[in-house]
């Protein structure tokens, strides 16, 4: 999109504690938390902060990037 002057990036949330998981088994979520280095599920604000950053002039040099916001859940 950059040749058109439109900057595109993505954010990839991990397991975020919102209504999205209202019917996810709570015991399962607790198991997942044990494997998350950050020690907790994500909050909606954790992801919103990164979305805001990507839209801001401070992120002008990020193009086609995917930022993982998952507390290290996929960290190997």
């Amino acid at each position: 999109m950059i040749p058109f002057g439109v900057r595109v990036n993505a954010v990839s949330p991990g397991t975020i504690d919102t209504d999205f998981h209202s019917s996810t088994n709570r015991e399962l979520l607790d198991t997942w938390v044990k494997g998350i280095p950050a020690g907790r599920l994500g909050k909606a604000e954790d992801v919103a902060n990164v979305i805001f950053f990507l839209a801001s002039p401070e992120a002008e040099y990020l193009v086609g990037e995917v930022i993982q916001v998952n507390g290290g859940q996929d960290f190997r």
């Binding site: 999109m1 900057r7 954010v11 919102t18 209504d19 399962l28 909606a44 839209a55």
Partner: protein, 148 residues
């Protein structure tokens, strides 16, 4: 970011609503999209109570025409568009591949993938003018299958 016009699909709750709040707190003019009018009005009420500039735009993002109208309505209301957040998404329930009907698959693709295509296609002419940006909200599920 002051006075930037930001449209968030699926912005009435969860990550979308949190993003709407963050943009609004920073002086942006926010357009919240969702298909549930009650939730949309509630979201707008909460943000306006804090003095923010926000408007709810109802649209089913799986319908091409509704998305086209959504972008037109937002740009008509605010005069232009600076940021599109393709946040609308969902699972319609968890199923293993063996138990997944084609209809379910298509619904999930419509909501998560096609919606972003429809919105981006309609928004790009406006974003070109404003030198704006698109942020796509994907998921760890793209890498890990979303768990059991």
């Amino acid at each position: 970011m002051d006075k930037k016009v930001v449209l968030i699909t699926g912005g009435t709750r969860g990550i979308g609503f949190a993003a709407a709040k963050k943009f609004a707190e920073n002086g942006c003019l926010v357009a919240i999209n969702g298909n549930n009018e009650e939730r949309g009005n509630e979201a707008v009420r909460e943000l306006r109570d804090s003095g923010y500039v926000v408007q709810y735009f109802k649209a089913d993002v799986t319908k091409e025409e509704e998305v086209e109208n959504l972008i037109s309505s937002v740009t008509e209301h605010y005069g232009h568009l600076d940021v599109l957040i393709n946040n609308a998404g969902g699972l319609h329930g968890r199923k293993s591949i063996e138990g997944m009907e084609t209809d379910h698959w298509n619904k999930v693709m419509d909501l998560n993938l096609n919606s972003a295509f429809y919105a981006s296609r309609s928004a790009v002419p406006h974003l070109k003018k404003s030198g704006g940006s698109i942020i796509n909200v994907t998921s760890i599920a793209a890498y890990m299958g979303g768990g059991p």
